[in-house]
Symmetry: C2
Subunit: 218 residues, 2 copies
Amino acid sequence: MAIPRAAKTQRRTRIQEEKEEQILEAALDVFSVSGFRGSTIDQIAEVAGMSKPNLLYYFRTKEAMHRALIDRVLDTWLEPLRAFDADGNPESEIRSYIRRKLEMARDFPRESRLFANEMLQGAPHVEDELKGPLKELVDEKADVIRSWAKAGKIAKCDPYHLIFSIWSTTQHYADFDVQVRAVLGQEHAGPGRFEDAARFLEQLFIDGLKVKSVPNAS
Amino acid sequence: MAIPRAAKTQRRTRIQEEKEEQILEAALDVFSVSGFRGSTIDQIAEVAGMSKPNLLYYFRTKEAMHRALIDRVLDTWLEPLRAFDADGNPESEIRSYIRRKLEMARDFPRESRLFANEMLQGAPHVEDELKGPLKELVDEKADVIRSWAKAGKIAKCDPYHLIFSIWSTTQHYADFDVQVRAVLGQEHAGPGRFEDAARFLEQLFIDGLKVKSVPNAS
DNA sequence: TGTAATGTTTACCAATCGGTCAAATTATCG
DNA sequence: CGATAATTTGACCGATTGGTAAACATTACA
């Protein structure tokens, strides 16, 4: 008698690990393009090279697949922000944060699109994570940025909107990849576009956040 | 005998205009949230308050609805960029471009999400528009920005990535609205968030694009 | 007013959807 | 090996999908 998801043995089989990995990989392919509603189990099954009932042996529902995917990807996705160091040099911290986010857009575009799809649909599956852990993390880092501004290390600015703008500019290269490539044209849409973007964004944010010398200040 | 879409009379009836408007309005509601694949004619029909066959009397297929919607919205969406004036003052041109894009994110979030959805899915329905009219428009404005930089009116920068960064930062407030609200929390997620964003972005882009005084230059 | 064109609805279709089931196959291990 | 548990599959289910046909209702206009 087959009991789904290894209820008996507790420990996960080698096959289980492999197949679940294989399924989530395919699910990422599909969900990241079509979103939850627009994706079908059959599509995922075909990409995974498995039969539909076989997928449903490892994940009981389409929602369970999506859920597992989100859970697995969420941590990775927030890692760069966690690395944001209060004790570091503001300029280099911001610079390397932009770099890392841009690298993620380049190396994990599907993960970026998965979240983008989720956001567009009103985050029906992750709203709790947004209001909980994400908000707390951003609040913490916003404090860091605010303290930098207070110490005169960077210009005074709204730390939340600074974080938003770094998120949006970097993720843009994953989420709107088609548009970026179309506009840049064949000559400039090569792999070098990420380097160009990095140079521009670093310049923009570093210079844009430099403390303004106020003539009439002491 | 009913012939869809007024093939006989050539001229469009009052009813046709009203109903087509009504349908596209509902279609925008639905498509902008769930994307093309994730949306159903039944959903649109329900939102429009009409029966499904009645929708299909005005638009022969789901694709036709989506197509009509995209066509209608595309022009509006690019209007702010068209208004970008080569003869104007760079600082105020960029400032007002950001303002206008931010106002559109506030006032037409569905239109923004419609395009975002389309981009995420690889632009299967608008790739031609991207590579044609959009690229030409951006090329033209990029030239303007480049000439400003050459004239020493703004810092030297990649004009394409500048445009991308303005697009992404402003549209973020429409496309990722849920996330923005969740992170800002109840206190700061009110209507004022657009003003806060405008202030921050103007500061960022204006200061970030100021010409750097190079000490060792003549 | 009459009538032809336009607009709307009910009933329906084949295809696809998420998901189940039982039978068949394969892996594990004493 | 044998047997038991784990895995895989084909056949199938009711609901939903995009779309059609034809009867019915309404409008426009001579």
